[in-house]
Amino acid sequence: MARFVALVKATPESEAGALPSTEILEEMTRYNEELVKAGVMLAGEGLHPSSKGARINYSGPTSRTITDGPFAEAKELVAGFWILQARDLAEALEWLKRAPFQEGEVEIRQIFEDDDFGDALTPELRETEQRLREQAARNR
């Protein structure tokens, strides 16, 4: 199955926590409804500005550094996302063309399906992944 994540890049306005106008909210609602009506919308959420977020940095097996937001460079940050079902990237792009944005950028990435991993996922890695998944399932 082909699924795509559409990452909505932040803008200085979204980072400032500015709420979009009623008109834009209405357009966005209508757009989301179109996605739902077309059966392609799997999930979609808006994210709080990075001032409410944090970063965690990994160095080696145990060293973790946490940095609180806000972070600079709005256009490198994510303000929201959709998960869409589409036949291929062209179709996902066609849907995103119809989003009611007038500025900013959306990046679309395809979600890995298991067969995509191919040779990279060695039997050992698969086993590890399996164990991690089992653990995650138990911890839920």
Partner: protein
Amino acid sequence: MRAAIDAIWRIESPKVIAGIARIMRDVGVAEDLAQDALVAALEQWPRDGIPEKPGAWLMTAAKRRAIDHFRRIETRERKYAEIATGVEEYDDMPDPEEVSDDLLRLIFIACHPVLSQQARVALTLRLLGGLTTDEIARAFLVPEPTVAQRILRAKRTLTEANVRFELPGVAERTDRLASVLEVIYLIFNEGYAATAGEHWMRPELCEEALRLGRVLAELVPNEPEVHGVVALMELQASRLRARIGRGGEPVLLLDQDRGRWDHLLIQRGLRSLARAEELGPLGPYALQAAIAACHARAHTAEETDWARIAALYDGLAQIMPSPVVELNRAVAVSMTFGPAAGLEIIDALTEEPALKDYHLLPSVRGDLLKKLGRTEEASREFARAAAMTRNDRERALLEARAAASDPLPQRPETSPGESSPPRHERS
């Protein structure tokens, strides 16, 4: 450019065909006219760029060709006037309700009971899925000319049967809707559990069926069984990634790595089920979804609420009695009350003609016999099951189980009476 136009076609063509079909009262002609519009797009868009509203462009182009079409054939003046009016009234913002009605009408027509099941499936995938004849042929493992013929004959049948181009009235609504749900679930099932050939699954078909089901749920949100069938598909699809083992072998539900279950789809399935439950007593699809939900909610196989599943199968057996339902009920009963209780139900099914070639019957019987320590009989049942299945990978699995249950084992056997659940449950 070509990829973009193909994507636009897949998104817009059902609505274009639906709109033209309403005007022309003929699905075949509507598709032809829509295709003509596509040809025009393929000629003009690379030159002039893709229009801002490609769907509207295609619709207008198709309507113009509808007018030309009528100029070339004899027709009652009224029809001609209708089309002319339609085009004149056309503006950039078609009434969304009208578009929805047109689409729903097309769905009902493509799934019309006057057509054979195969014809309905092919026509639905073509008109509503935008799949090419070749894609449909590959999905169902039949030659392309066969599919082309099916679609041609289907259109002819609809014309000859004078199928009315109206939404079904209250009296026939239930039956017509049942026909639609049957088609959608059939497509899903075809992708989910391949019955023939080498491959276990064809996820693209599952995807298409899911999409159609979701579209329908938005068009007729007050129909509980529509939400039921969507819930069932979302929940079953959530297990797609877990159904294949490392070596490509099938993994049965109770053996599956639940970390691989798609929890996004599970949540969607549970939400759809909740919508169905809000709308009234559960119908057969919703009940099956409720059963799937019991599995989905269990974090491990051991946590499965078998008592609830047994009760749901009781309910299902009442509104949709069938030997297959009885078989599944037997498994749930065996998990709740022990293998002997389940075997009692199974033994009553052994003469059932409908299950004569159904490999899951001896497979389940083998499970229960094994648990009761009757290993020689168990081995025979697994061997029988292996001989019955047409799926290569499933056969290998069953043959392995026959060997494992063999009284002269080549490797250590698990001890009888071990409380491992039967492994047949629909993965």
